[in-house]
């Protein structure tokens, strides 16, 4: 391999060496040399041509979230790069390993307002884990390898690499023997053993302990360890929005989701608990409500790979910096044997009984098991039909968009496995679901991938339906929960702004006809009786299907914690 290679060829080789096999992007002037080179590598590197760079970014995120591998997206300089910004910010908020590759104008015209020049490294500085501008072909192999290393290690995140066109065109003999020169980047994986022991001491003495599992459990592949820990201690487990799937919801120790649209019994349990072990969650304000009132009686043990998350939003009694899986293993190793856990077990079983009582008291109303009168198609009937089909057909992954439909999906679908629930949590990016589902469908061709969208968010990125067809992807289905509103905003207007529906009523095209125009099968459903058959038809169609569920327009997501209120103060109706 001592032959000369162009910078663009080196880019392809770095990707292949790092196990990348698919990339999502759109070409343009400054990135053309990379597209020229990738043609030679097309057997190893699949390029998926998206219809908008934002779609490419979210597709790469979906791929990454569904696999744990790095997602790769590509844009040309200027508008191509700026179109990636939303996806990069989204990946930053949700700790998604993403490599954004952008072409840059020639190094001799940098800073001269050349055609399609944008300072994309400047723009993305606050929304990337790190970013690079590469101007010399000799720097490509090292810098791009470092970029992938940074994106995928420690707390994962997006890294952008901006490469000038002349560096891609120039040639050099690449060297592949290098050690990363990153003296300031040494992620801590192993938790401090003394803190681990202190955590065990608190937990074994607790009367009302809780485990809260977040995204970190999924990213570390720690679900089995979490399960073992819960079963040995018999401590009830909460899963946050991004922790969904880290612990099976049909497990007797699973109690559900906390937070703004979490279950009443879960939020009450948090307010009552005496020790809270948070593994890999960051105490987002959607989880804590008013932070100063969160878990007032609890001593909090916080396990996070990012030290800057610990103590940021809530006070912490025992900080443990480390990888969720390694720390869980240490916790398991430090756990006393079964006899010594007797008092914890009996306390935990009384506590669980109390939590289940609270759950029973609110269950009916919460789960929408009571069907409101006079509604042709309440949204929860769609979820009931969908959940039944997902459970009976198996092998599902669901991408949700942002809004009411997203919260209903988190609440009402039965989640069992990690990396099956993929949503935009931290950034709340409308338009996430359809392109993310494209990435997930490519990552897992054997699974059926559903994008559950609102009529608003769907219209932000539905152009990627064309990408699905061009790529021959068949395992993707879209369910639009079409309420004719930017529903979540309308809900706030209804509850807190006197029903002043300013800017929220929303029209759309006939979505089924739009689907047909894209070469998808499109169905329109208006009555609850027809839900199951439509979902069956979607499953039995070998190819992409969209179902437009025209649901009752003004239904709210409950329970709900109004913003800035304590999670003890939930409203129901």
């Amino acid at each position: 391999m001592s032959e000369k290679r162009t910078g663009a060829q080196i880019m392809c080789e770095v990707l292949i060496r790092n196990g990348v096999d698919v990339m999502f992007g759109i070409p343009g002037g400054a990135i053309m040399p990379f597209y020229y080179a990738m043609w030679e590598y097309r057997d190893q590197l699949r390029h998926v041509l998206c219809r908008h760079e934002q779609g490419g970014g979210h597709a790469a995120e979906g791929y990454a979230r569904a696999t744990g591998k790095i997602g790769v997206c590509i844009g040309t300089s200027g508008p191509g790069a700026t179109n990636l910004v939303t996806a990069i910010a989204d990946a930053m908020m949700d700790s998604t390993p993403l490599l954004a590759i952008t072409g840059q104008v020639g190094s001799h015209v940098l800073g001269k307002d050349a055609f399609q020049e944008t300072d994309i490294t400047g723009i993305t500085m606050p929304i990337t884990k790190h970013n690079y501008l590469v101007k010399r072909v000799e720097d490509i192999a090292y810098t791009m390898s470092e970029a992938i290393h940074v994106a995928t290690t420690g707390r994962p995140g997006p890294v952008l690499i901006d490469i000038t066109k002349d560096a891609m065109v120039a040639a050099t003999v690449p060297t592949w023997e290098f050690a990363f020169d990153l003296p300031g980047y040494k992620p801590t994986y192993q938790g401090n053993r003394r803190q681990v022991r202190e955590a065990i001491r608190l937990l074994t003495q607790a009367r009302k302990p809780l485990v809260m599992a977040g995204n970190g459990v999924i990213m570390a592949g720690a679900s089995d360890d979490l399960r073992e820990f819960a079963e040995r201690t018999r401590i009830p487990v909460i899963t946050t929005l991004h922790g969904i799937g880290s612990f099976p919801e049909d497990h007797p120790l699973s109690i559900g989701m906390p937070g703004m649209h979490g279950w009443v019994h879960v939020n009450r349990a948090i307010q009552e608990c005496d020790v809270l072990l948070n593994i890999g969650g960051r105490f987002d304000d959607r989880v804590t409500g008013k932070a100063s009132t969160f878990a007032p009686n609890a001593r909090i043990i916080h396990v996070d790979i990012d030290p800057s998350e610990i103590g940021k939003n809530v006070r912490v009694a025992v900080p443990i910096v480390g990888d969720a899986r390694l720390v869980l293993r240490d916790l398991l190793a430090e756990l006393p044997d079964r006899d010594a856990l007797g008092s914890l077990h009996s306390a935990a079983s009384d506590w669980m009984e109390h939590i289940r009582e609270m759950q029973d008291r609110h269950q009916q109303k919460q789960q929408y098991l009571v069907r409101p009168d006079g509604m042709l198609l309440p949204p929860h009937d769609v979820y009931r039909g969908l959940t039944a089909a997902l459970n009976s057909r198996g092998n599902y992954r669901v991408c949700t968009d942002v809004g009411q439909h997203q919260m209903w999906a988190a609440q009402l679908i039965d989640w069992h496995r990690p990396r099956t629930h993929i949503t935009s949590g931290g950034a709340g990016t409308m338009g996430f679901a359809v392109p993310a589902a494209l990435g997930v469908a490519i990552a897992h061709p054997g699974d059926t991938v559903w994008a559950v969208c609102g009529d608003g968010g769907f219209q932000m990125t539905n152009q990627e339906m064309a990408t699905v067809v061009q790529e021959g992807i068949r395992n993707i289905k879209i369910a639009i929960i079409n309420n004719g509103y930017l529903g979540m905003v309308r809900q706030w207007q209804e509850l807190f702004e006197n029903k002043r529906y300013s800017g929220t009523p929303l029209s759309g095209p006939n979505f089924a006809m739009l689907a047909a125009a894209y070469g998808w099968k499109g169905l329109t459903i208006e009555r609850s009786e027809d839900v199951a058959a439509a979902i069956d038809e979607a499953y039995d169609t070998d190819g992409p299907v969209l179902i437009d569920f025209r649901v009752e327009r003004e239904v709210n997501v409950f329970p709900m914690v109004p913003q800035n209120k304590s999670i003890g103060e939930m409203i129901y109706e």
Partner: protein
């Protein structure tokens, strides 16, 4: 709110100063002064940042999130040597010069330029001493002033040397995939 002095070692890579400043700016912290220059180790720069904030521990942790940041310490409570330099161009008609020269002597400052109606004073010392001199010469009329901002170093052996933290540099962290 209390003033804190933070000393940081950073890799001397393009954009590192923007990253540090950007991180502090977007959290709404106010930078009172920032001084930066080469450290004793090649490729590593040392920064002194003076910042007013109630929760400096968070600033320190956030700075560690930057890949280029090697070491950060809040040295506010430590025994430190702190220095600042100022250049002051003051209005100095012939009649006032002897007074000004006498004042500069008291402060151990130097006169580095004398013009027809101005003098430039160079003052190096602890930030409070520099401030004192400024207050004292202000009545003469300060036409221009440039302060470097504070630089700080912890006294004694317990320090903040680049070599201690650079040991083991270049060794790759365990990729998370390998842990799965």
């Amino acid at each position: 709110m209390k003033k804190h002095t933070i000393v940081a070692l950073v890799q001397d890579r393009p954009g590192v100063l923007s990253r540090v400043v950007g991180l502090i700016r977007r959290r709404g912290y106010n930078i009172e002064s920032l001084a930066v220059g080469h450290s004793e180790a090649a490729g590593i720069s040392r920064l002194t940042i003076v910042i007013e904030w109630h929760d400096v521990e968070q600033v320190v942790k956030q700075l560690y999130r930057l890949i280029d940041v090697v070491k950060v310490s809040d040295v506010t409570e430590d025994q430190t040597v702190e220095r600042e330099m100022a250049l002051l161009k003051i209005h100095a008609p012939a009649a006032k010069r002897p007074e000004i020269v006498a004042l500069t002597d008291v402060f151990d400052a130097k006169i580095v330029d004398v013009g027809t109606s101005t003098m430039v004073i160079e003052m190096t010392g602890s930030p409070s001493k520099v401030q004192n001199l400024i207050d004292v010469v202000r009545p003469y009329g300060i036409k221009e002033m440039m302060r470097t901002g504070r630089i700080a170093m912890v006294r004694g052996a317990r320090g903040h040397g680049a070599d201690d933290v650079l040991e083991g540099a270049g060794q790759a962290a365990v990729p998370s995939a390998a842990l799965n």
